[in-house]
Amino acid sequence: MSCSKPFPGNSRPRPTRADPVPGTGSAPRWDNPLRDERDKRLPRIAGPCALVIFGVTGDLARKKLMPAVYDLANRGLLPPGFALVGFARRDWAAEDFGKVVHDAVKQHSRTPFREEVWERLAEGIRFVQGSFDDDAAFVELTKTLRDLDEERGTGGNHAFYLAIPPAAFPTVCEQLSKSGLAQPVEDQWRRVVIEKPFGHDLESAKELNAVVNTVFPEDSVFRIDHYLGKETVQNILALRFANQLFDPIWNAHYVDHVQITMAEDIGLGGRAGYYDGIGAARDVIQNHLLQLLAFTAMEEPVSFEPSELQSEKIKVLSATRLAEPLDETTARGQYAGGWQGGQRVVGLLDEDGFSKDSTTETFAAITLEVDTRRWAGVPFYLRTGKRLGRRVTEIAVVFKRAPHLPFDKTMTEELGQNALVIRVQPDEGVTMRFGSKVPGSSMEVRDVNMDFSYGQAFTESSPEAYERLILDVLLGEPSLFPVNAEVELSWKILDPVLEHWAESGKPEPYEAGTWGPESAQEMLRRTGREWRRP
C-alpha cells in the first residue's frame, strides 16, 4: 500500500493473528497455541468489538447491513459480546431501534431466523439519537461505547460505518475526532467504513480522501465496493491463477477484445436526489466496472497478501487509458418511456425529481486500452445502464478466430468467436463458448455452450457480499477493499470522458427494455465487433 504510513497502535493485524501483538513493537511474539494454519475447519471469528452505523434509518442499513450482521451472528462468526450501535436523528428509544433491526433481519436475512441467536444479538443493540452537528449526541455516543466496553467487553475496538451521503463525511469525521472516538489506543483499533460515491471526479475524490485521512489513517479506512465481496469476482483470481488451462491464452495473442457489462432493469424513480447530475459512468464505471477490469487484466500477484494484490491492481489501472477519439469510442444514453417486462414505464425525464432537460446519462459505454505487453491492441469495452433488457453483470473475454479454418465456408457459417464468460450475477458461474460439429452426415460447425454454475457445484446460497465485507472489516482484513490510489486512478481514467460529455451534446434516448442507444451499437460496429446479448 503505497499511500499508507505506519501509525503506532493502529497497525492492522494480519488474518492469522500469529504476528506480534499490535502496537507493541519489540515485545515478545504471542503465538496463540490453539491456532494452526493447517486447521482449516476453524472459522475466523472477529475479536471483541462494536459496530457503529451512522445513517441507520436508510435503505442500505435496513436491507443490507443489519441482515448481514445477523447472518454473521447466525453463522457463529461474531464475537461473544458483540455490540451494534445505531446513530440517527430519529427520536427512538433503544427498544424501538431493536424492533427496527428485528424487522429488517426477519425480512431480509439470508439464513433462517433463530430466536436464541437473535436474543444474543439484541442484548448488544444500542441507539444514540442526534444529528451529525450535535456535540451532545457524540458525547452520548462516547459514553455508550464506554459502557459497552464495560458491560459487553467490546475491548475498545470500534468500527464506524458511514452509511450516509458523502457531504456529511467531513462533519462526522470531525465529530469523531473531537470526541476522541477516532483516537487509537494501544491494543485497540478504530476503523471507518465508507460507501461509494468516493467523490465525483479526481479533485473531489482527493478532497474526500484528505478529509477522511486527517482523522483516520489510510490503513484504517475501508471503502466498500460490494462487487468485490461477491464470490464470482473473487473466483476470477482462482480461475486465472490456480489453473493451467486459461493463463496461456489470457493475452493479446489470443484475445480479440473484452466486454464488461453491468445492466439493470430498474429505473431511477425516487432516486433523483442521488442520481441527477451523477450519471451511470460515475455511479458504476468508476468503481465496479474498473475494479472488474483490474481483476481481469492484472498480472499475477506474487502472493495473496493484501498489499501484493493492491499493487497489481494499481499497476494495471495506471496502465489503463481511454481509446480516442472519444466521439467514436464512447456512447451515452438516457432511457425513454417504453414497455419493460410487461409493464409500461416512463422515461427518465418524466421520473419524479428529474428536471425536464436533465442531461444525466443512464447508459454509458467506454472503450479502454491497457498499455502492457499482455494487452496491447486489445480493446476493453465497458458498459452499464438502467432500464436495460434484464439485470445482469458479466465479463466476456472474446477470442480471435482461428487463423486458418480447414473447412469450406458453408461448414462454418454458424461458427462465432470463442468466448469465456464470467457470469457475476445472477446465475453465478462461467460459460465457455466454442464450435462443435452438428450431428449429421455433413460437416457443419455451430456454437455450443459449456457451463459451470455455482448453484450446481457448490453451496446453494453463498454468503452475501456484505457479510463477507463486514466480517473482513471486523477482522481487519483489507484485501477486498480498494485503496486511495485505486480510487484516484479510476477517476483519472474516467475524467476526460466526463469532461468531454459535459462540453457538448447530450445523451441519446433509448427505449426502456432494450440494450441501449444506437450509438453504443455503432461504437462497436466501427471496429467490426458486436456487443454480446448477455
Binding site: 494452526d36 475479536g47 461473544p80 459480546g81 436464541e116 450446481q456 457445484a457 453451496t459
Partner: protein, 302 residues
C-alpha cells in the same frame, strides 16, 4: 420422485438412472462427489438419508445408501431411486442387500461411482474397526465415522488412533468446531499468557468432549484433565482462566475471561447434517484431527 425397483441388478438400476435423467430432466452432471452411506436396514435409515440430503444441498452429490439387511435371508438386491423433491439437491440410490450379498457391499457400490470425482464413505452407526481397510473404505478418499452412537464411545474414539489413515475423520470431531473456534479466538485477546493446564468436563459417554480434551492436550504444554460432570472447558493461565460452559441441553454458552464481563454466545449442539456438511467441505487429510487423537493418550481421566 421415488422409483422402487425390487429384486434387481446394478445394470438395470443404472439403465433406469439414465432413463430418469433423459425423461425427467433430472441432471446428474455437475455432481462434485459420491457419498456412500453404509448403514443397517432399519427405521433409522430414513433419518440417515435425510441428513445426507441436507448435507448435499451444500455439495450436490450422488448419494448411495447401502442398507444391509438380514444375512440369513435369500440373496437379493432391492433398489430405490430418488430424484427431485425427495432427494434434496442430489440423486439418491438406496440399495438394500439381503442374504450373502450383505457381505459384499463394495461390489454393488462400484458401478454407481461417478467418474473422476471423489468418493466419501460415511458409517452413521456401526463403523468397521479399520475404516481404511474396509472394502468400501478402500474406495473412498474420506472416511467418516461417528463414535457418538457406539456402545462404548470412549473406547471407540480412543481406538481411532491405531486405525488412523490420512482421510479418516469422526463426527465427534466436527461437532466441536465452534467450541474450538471460540476458545481459540478468546486467546487472541490479552493477556497473552501461556496455558498452564486445562480441564474438560462433560458427560462421560460424549466422545466430542474427549475430542476437546485430546485437541487441547496436543496443543498445550501443561496437563489436561477430563472429568465427568457439567459441560465446561477451563483453560488456566497464570493470571486467570478462560471458561466456556453450557448447560447440557442448552443452546447458549457462557464465556468468562479475567478482566472482561461474562458474555453469552449461541452455541447449540450441532446437528448431524451440519457436521456432515462440514466434513464434505474439505477432502484433504485432517492432520489436526490426527494430532487430537494422539493427544487423547495424554489426557488424565478422573
Amino acid at each position: 420422485m421415488i422409483i422402487d425397483i425390487p429384486s434387481t441388478t446394478t445394470e438395470k438400476i443404472n439403465k433406469k438412472l439414465v432413463e430418469v435423467r433423459e425423461t425427467g430432466g433430472a441432471v446428474t452432471l455437475g455432481r462434485v462427489l459420491t457419498l456412500v452411506v453404509c448403514t443397517l436396514d432399519s427405521e433409522n435409515a430414513e433419518d440417515v438419508i435425510d441428513a445426507a440430503n441436507e448435507a448435499s444441498r451444500e455439495h450436490p452429490c450422488r448419494v448411495i445408501v447401502v442398507a444391509r439387511g438380514d444375512r440369513s435371508a435369500e440373496t437379493r438386491l432391492d433398489a430405490q431411486i430418488r430424484v427431485g423433491g425427495d432427494a434434496g439437491a442430489s440423486e439418491v440410490v438406496v440399495l438394500r442387500l439381503h442374504g450373502e450379498l450383505a457381505d459384499h457391499e463394495s461390489s454393488v457400490v462400484v458401478p454407481f461411482l461417478l467418474p473422476d470425482t471423489p468418493v466419501v464413505a460415511w458409517w452413521p452407526d456401526k463403523s468397521p474397526p479399520f475404516p481404511a481397510q474396509d472394502p468400501v473404505g478402500r474406495l473412498a478418499i474420506r472416511r467418516i465415522t461417528d463414535a457418538t452412537g457406539a456402545r462404548d464411545p470412549l473406547a471407540t474414539i480412543k481406538s481411532r488412533l491405531q486405525s488412523y489413515t490420512a482421510g479418516d475423520t469422526d463426527l465427534a470431531w466436527s461437532r466441536i468446531t465452534y467450541w474450538r473456534a471460540l476458545l481459540t479466538s478468546a486467546l487472541d485477546q490479552p493477556p497473552y499468557e501461556r496455558i498452564v493446564s486445562a480441564t474438560v468436563s462433560g458427560l462421560a459417554e460424549e466422545p466430542a468432549v474427549d475430542m476437546i480434551a485430546g485437541w487441547l492436550a496436543s496443543r498445550i504444554d501443561g496437563p489436561v484433565r477430563r472429568v465427568a460432570g457439567e459441560l465446561r472447558v477451563v483453560l488456566e493461565r497464570e493470571t486467570g482462566s478462560v471458561t466456556l460452559s453450557r448447560p447440557q441441553t442448552g443452546k447458549t454458552a457462557t464465556l468468562s475471561r479475567l478482566g472482561a464481563p461474562d458474555s453469552l454466545v449461541s452455541l447449540a449442539r450441532r446437528e448431524t447434517r451440519d457436521c456432515l456438511a462440514e466434513e464434505l467441505r474439505r477432502l484433504d487429510p485432517d492432520e489436526i484431527y490426527h494430532a487430537a487423537l494422539s493427544g487423547l493418550t495424554k489426557v488424565n481421566y478422573e
